[in-house]
Amino acid sequence: MTLALKLGLARGALELKTFVREREAVVFSFGLPIVLLLIFGTIFEGEVGDTGVDFRQYFAAGIIAGGIMSTTFISLGISIANERDDGTLKRLYGTPMPRASYFIGKTVSALVLSVAETAVLFAVGGALLGLEPPATPQRWFTFGWVFVLGVAACTLLGIAVSSVPRSGRSAAAVLNLPYLVLQFISGVFFVFGDLPSGVQQVGALFPLKWMCQGLRSALLPDVLLAAEPARSWEHGRIALVLAAWCIGGLVLCLTTFRWKRRHER
C-alpha cells in the first residue's frame, strides 16, 4: 500500500506539472469560473429577497461550488476519457504500477487544483464583490467538510462518468451539458429559493445544490436563512447527500471503470 501511495503521489505531481504546462487548460478550464464570477459579478445587482444580503455574494458562493465541480468532475471526466482513448490507460495497465496509484494521482491533482481554484475565487470575490472568508472557526469547519465531501463526491463521479463518452473527442460536450444544467438548477446562477419547486426537487437530487447550500452556510450570514426554502442550513442532510454520492460514485468506479476502449476486451 505504501508503494501505491508513493507512486500515486508521484503521479499526482506529474499530472499537475502537465496541467500547468498546458497553457490552454490553465487559461480556459481553470479560468472559466473566474471569468463567470467577474462577468456576473458586474452585471448582477440587488439583494437576495429582503435579507439585505448582496446577491453577488450569494452568487460567489455558488461559483466556488461550481469551480470545485469544474476542477474535479469536468477535468477528470474529460482527461480520463482522453487517456482511455489515446491508450495511456492501456499502457499503464501493462506496467506493474499498482492500479490504485492512478486514482490516487487523479485525486491528488484534482484536490490541489480545487484548492487553488477556490483560493483564486476567494481573492477575486473578496477584492471585487466583498466576499469574506468564513467568519468563525465553526464556519471554517463547515467550509472544510463541505469542501472535502464535495471534492470527494465530484472526483469519484468524474472518474465514473469518464466511461460514458464514446470517445475522448466527445467527452467535453457530453460532460458540459449536465454541468451547465446543474449550475442553473442548483442555486449557482439563480437564488435556489426563487426556482420553481419542481426544479428545486430535481436540483436537490444532485450534489451541486448541497455543495452550494453548505458553502453559503459557511460564507454568508444567517439572515439569509429567510430566503432558503428549508429555512435551515440542513447540515445533516448536506453531509448525508454528499456522502451518499461518494458511496454511489465509488461503487460506479469499481464496477464500470475500463482501462481500455469500448471494443477492446
Partner: protein, 281 residues
C-alpha cells in the same frame, strides 16, 4: 520449461460471432527474436494482446514466462515490456521525466539516463515529448518498454513511418537488446525488418499460424528453384532451375567469359509470404 518464454496451444478468440483467432499454436524460446507476420485482420494483434494480458481469450492454453497472462499480477508485469502500436506519451513532459517516472514502477529498473542514451535520445532528454519527431517518439516508446529490464519485450509494428536511416538505427538498438538476452516478440509488416532482426518468423493468416521457420528457410525458400537471367543476342533470357551453378557454368562457356546482365535469384521472403497469405484467401 525454462527454455520456453511463450507457449501457446489451441488459442481461440471470438468476437461476437466472428472467430478472429482459430487455434494458434506458438513456441518462443528464451533469448529468441521471433517475428510474427500477417496481413491486417489476420489475428496477429489479437494474439499478441492476449499474450500481453490486454485481452481475454475464448479458449486455449497460454503460458508467458511461466504464467497465464489473463491471471498474472504485478510481479509478472514487471518482467515484460510492451511497446504498443501507437505512441501516447504526455506531450507536455520531457523525455527524461517520462522515462524516470516509468522507472519508478519497476522493482529493478535500468538507469533512466542509460536507457535514454541507448535509444539515441541523449540530446533530446530535456525536450518535451510533444516536440519530438515521429521516429524520436517511437524511441521514447521503446525506452519505456525496456526501462523495467524486461525478460520479454513485445514490439508491435515498431518502425511504421520511419525513414530508412532511422529504421537502420532502430534495428541496431533491437539487435543490442537481443544480444543482451532479451526475448523479443516483434510484429511487423516489413519483411526486410523480419529478415534483419528475427531468428524465426511465424506467418499468421486468417486466424491460424500457417508457417514457422527461420527467415531463410521459410516456405522452402532455401531449396526453391532459382531463376537465372541474362541478356543473350536475341534479348533478355531466363531459366528456372534447381542447379543454377551448372547453368551459370554453361552460360559462361557459351559466352566465353562474362555473361551479360547475369543475375541469380531465389524467391524473396516477400514472394514466399505473399504466396502463403494468398493461399489462405
Amino acid at each position: 520449461m525454462t527454455d520456453t518464454a511463450v507457449r501457446v496451444r489451441g488459442l481461440r478468440k471470438r468476437y461476437g460471432d466472428v472467430d478472429a483467432v482459430k487455434g494458434v499454436d506458438l513456441d518462443i524460446r528464451r533469448g529468441e527474436v521471433f517475428a510474427l507476420l500477417g496481413p491486417n485482420g489476420a489475428g496477429k494483434s489479437t494474439t499478441v494482446e492476449i499474450l500481453e494480458g490486454h485481452r481475454q481469450r475464448t479458449a486455449g492454453e497460454v503460458s508467458v514466462l511461466g504464467a497465464d497472462p489473463a491471471k498474472a499480477g504485478r510481479g509478472w508485469r514487471a518482467r515484460i515490456g510492451i511497446v504498443p502500436q501507437t505512441s501516447n506519451e504526455d506531450p507536455q513532459l520531457t523525455v527524461r521525466e517520462m522515462v524516470r517516472h516509468f522507472a519508478a514502477y519497476y522493482p529493478r529498473p535500468r538507469d533512466p539516463d542509460e536507457v535514454i542514451e541507448a535509444v539515441g535520445l541523449a540530446e533530446q532528454a530535456t525536450r518535451r515529448v510533444g516536440r519530438l519527431s515521429g521516429g524520436q517518439r517511437r524511441r521514447v516508446d521503446v525506452a519505456l518498454g525496456i526501462i523495467g529490464r524486461p525478460e520479454l519485450l513485445f514490439l508491435d509494428e515498431p518502425t511504421t513511418g520511419f525513414d530508412p536511416d532511422a529504421r537502420r538505427r532502430f534495428w541496431d538498438l533491437i539487435q543490442g537488446l537481443a544480444g543482451d538476452g532479451t526475448t523479443i516478440l516483434l510484429t511487423t509488416h516489413y519483411l526486410d525488418e523480419a529478415e534483419a532482426l528475427a531468428d524465426r518468423v511465424g506467418v499468421i493468416a486468417a486466424g491460424r499460424v500457417v508457417a514457422v521457420d527461420t527467415p531463410g528457410r521459410l516456405g522452402g525458400r532455401a531449396t526453391a528453384s532459382a531463376r537465372v537471367s541474362w541478356r543473350g543476342p536475341e534479348g533478355p533470357q531466363r531459366i528456372d532451375t534447381d542447379s543454377p551453378t551448372q547453368v551459370v557454368a554453361e552460360l559462361s562457356q557459351r559466352f566465353g567469359g562474362e555473361v551479360p546482365e547475369l543475375t541469380v535469384t531465389r524467391p524473396s521472403l516477400e514472394d514466399v509470404y505473399l504466396s502463403m497469405i494468398g493461399a489462405t484467401k
